[in-house]
Amino acid sequence: MLLEIEDLRTTYTDSSTESTVTAVDGVSFEIEEGESFGLVGESGCGKSTIAKSVMRILPDNGRITDGAVRLNGEDLTELDAEPMRQRRWTDIALISQSAMNALDPVYTVDTQIKEAIEAHESWSEQRMDDRVVELFELVGIDPERRHDYPHQFSGGMKQRAMIAMALVLDPDLIIADEPTTALDVISQDTILHHLEELQAETGASMLLITHDMSVVAEMCDRTAVMYAGELAERGPTETIFTNPYHPYTLGLKNAFPSIHGGADSLISIPGAPPPLTDPADACRFADRCPFAAPECRSSDPPMKEVADEHEAACARIDDVGIETMREQAAKREVWHGVDDAPDGASAGDGAASAPTEVSGGDSA
């Protein structure tokens, strides 16, 4: 197993109000060698915080408070600063969600790629140069342009340059955090295919973080769906899409047209995730879930095996019956009835579900 994340908990503290936000609350998943693993969820659900926790590049107010992140068996959360620095980029590289701002405007792209090499290796100037040229060719940018400054590159070129930079030291794991969000649809598609090819070629594992289910569907072997700091469902991508179990996944699926059915079946999930400052011991999806019952609010449902290698964190799958759930979830009125006509099942205690921002978390 290349990467094992076990019960990871990461918090942000707001120094002025002393309040703590638990952006990631007990998340576990594993990534095998050469595997492509997708992590899907709305912005603010904590998925980028997972990326930053794995690399330990959280902002000053962020802290891993519990759990383990094992890379090749070694717990990264236990490492001192210097050994951790050495793991970065040689073992784990990052393709950031904002290629536009992830390159320093005052240095050439060439300088910035070489900086990554120099932080870890003592290669000759010639060897570094050869490597940069090789990578530029690999990602499809004219190597002549390696001495350009970032502002001289188009958005797509910057994203390719970022990919080139991520590959420079042959990492075991590439974390791609919304790698194409800032691009137009055509570039998105080419970049994704390219990424797929490169990953296959280099044999690196990939953790692909996105809000776009269709991206995961195309690229990933296995997928985890994240909601409000927790995993809702985890399993093979194929079955997550064809036979989802968690009501949130069912709702998400409705919102993306490219998988099944036409645009007319688009249904968005009304409401917003609960604030993560002081989460109640209840299912976090309860306020938006059409299947919510009193028992959903009495305790936070754990992940349970629902099919082969497939788990979901919902307490009512057996009670409602998965077939009924899927049938119901495909209907628009089922979702929109939650807000308009609270009838027993969804009334609950009506905790305010105002939109929330997770400080320092996702901002896509």
Binding site: P59, Q86, W89, S98, D104, Y149, M165
Partner: protein
């Protein structure tokens, strides 16, 4: 337009600005109270001597002729003779510009070196160090230069007698040339108090600006990215965070140069430093028009050149600049 064209255009703009300032100065000096002829031409003098002097200084000419002669003097850098020191204005100022630049340059250099590095460190380290720096900077910023100059003069000059109370060098010392003088212990000894009077005030601005900019830059994605790349902390600090924070420092440098020019006039006067600022104050007090005009113009030129240099520097440190 390329970088060369841009530089040429900025240079041309600077020259035009200098001329505008020269014209304004002519007008202002004619509006000032105090009749120059009354001062320069003592009524005690013989009538014919008075007229001869008025002719020599061009004071009997109509205004437009005076203006043309004045502008000609600006172009040829020949500002005529001082009313009081029987010597060409140009020679007087040429002797003193070096002294002024030396004092101001040392002050600004130290202010920027300390201001930017302390500001950057405060933002990087945060916590109690940052708070102490912030409080000191605000204190410095509200301490008038002339006040600090007087306090230092009193405490370390008069009272403790650690440093001389004025002038650039010992009255008895002789030096073979400017450089010889500048690199003497004697000169450095004289330089300490005047420079110390200005540095805290000059450095407050770059310090506070550097700190604020750093705090903003630290939140940028490329800083997170540099950390992710495994770049060592001190390199992330110096090569990325501080390097990018320098951009506004350079763009605002002309403001500080402006402050420094004003501060220098005060410090030169208090420490009897033989510079352009002190010459200006004396010339104005004595209604020595040719000298005062030229000294004013020279100070304006220092500010304008400071602006120009900051612009040049900016083209060097920000690759994104476009020349149009």
């Amino acid at each position: 337009m390329g970088a060369k064209g841009y530089i040429a255009r900025r240079a041309a703009q600077s020259v035009v600005t200098i001329f505008v300032v020269a014209v304004l100065m002519f007008v202002l000096f004619r509006l000032m109270p105090g009749d120059p002829t009354a001062v320069a031409l003592s009524p005690a003098l013989d009538e014919s001597v008075q007229q001869e002097m008025a002719r020599q200084y061009g004071l009997n000419q109509p205004l437009h002729i005076q203006f043309i002669r004045y502008m000609a003097s600006v172009v040829t850098l020949d500002f005529g003779y001082s009313f009081f020191q029987n010597e060409p204005v140009r020679d007087i100022l040429m002797r003193r510009i070096g002294n002024t630049l030396l004092l101001m340059g040392t002050g600004l250099l130290l202010a920027y070196a300390f201001g930017t590095s302390i500001g950057a460190l405060a933002a990087w380290k945060r916590g109690s160090f940052d708070t102490r720096v912030l409080v000191s900077a605000v204190l410095f910023r509200s301490t008038p230069v002339f006040w600090l100059a007087l306090v230092l003069l009193y405490v370390f000059g008069f009272h403790l007698e650690w440093f001389p109370i004025g002038h650039m060098v010992d009255a008895e010392a002789t030096y073979s040339g400017f450089l010889d003088k500048v690199f003497s212990v004697d000169f450095l000894h004289h330089l300490v108090l005047p420079v110390l009077s200005t540095v805290p005030f000059y450095m407050a601005y770059p310090l506070l600006l550097m700190r604020t900019t750093m705090l903003r830059i630290e939140g940028e994605d490329f800083i997170t990215m540099a950390h992710a790349k495994g770049v060592r902390d001190r390199d992330v600090f110096a090569k990325h965070a501080a390097r990018n924070s320098l951009l506004p420092i350079v763009t605002t440098a002309p403001i500080v140069v402006g402050l420094a020019v004003a501060g220098n006039v005060l410090v030169e006067t208090i420490y009897s430093w033989p510079g352009v600022g002190r010459t200006l104050v004396q010339a104005v007090l004595q209604s020595d028009y040719p000298l005062a005009q030229a000294a004013f113009l020279m100070i304006a030129v220092i500010v304008i050149v400071g602006n120009f240099v900051a612009d040049l520097l900016y083209t060097v440190i920000d690759p994104r600049i476009t020349y149009d």
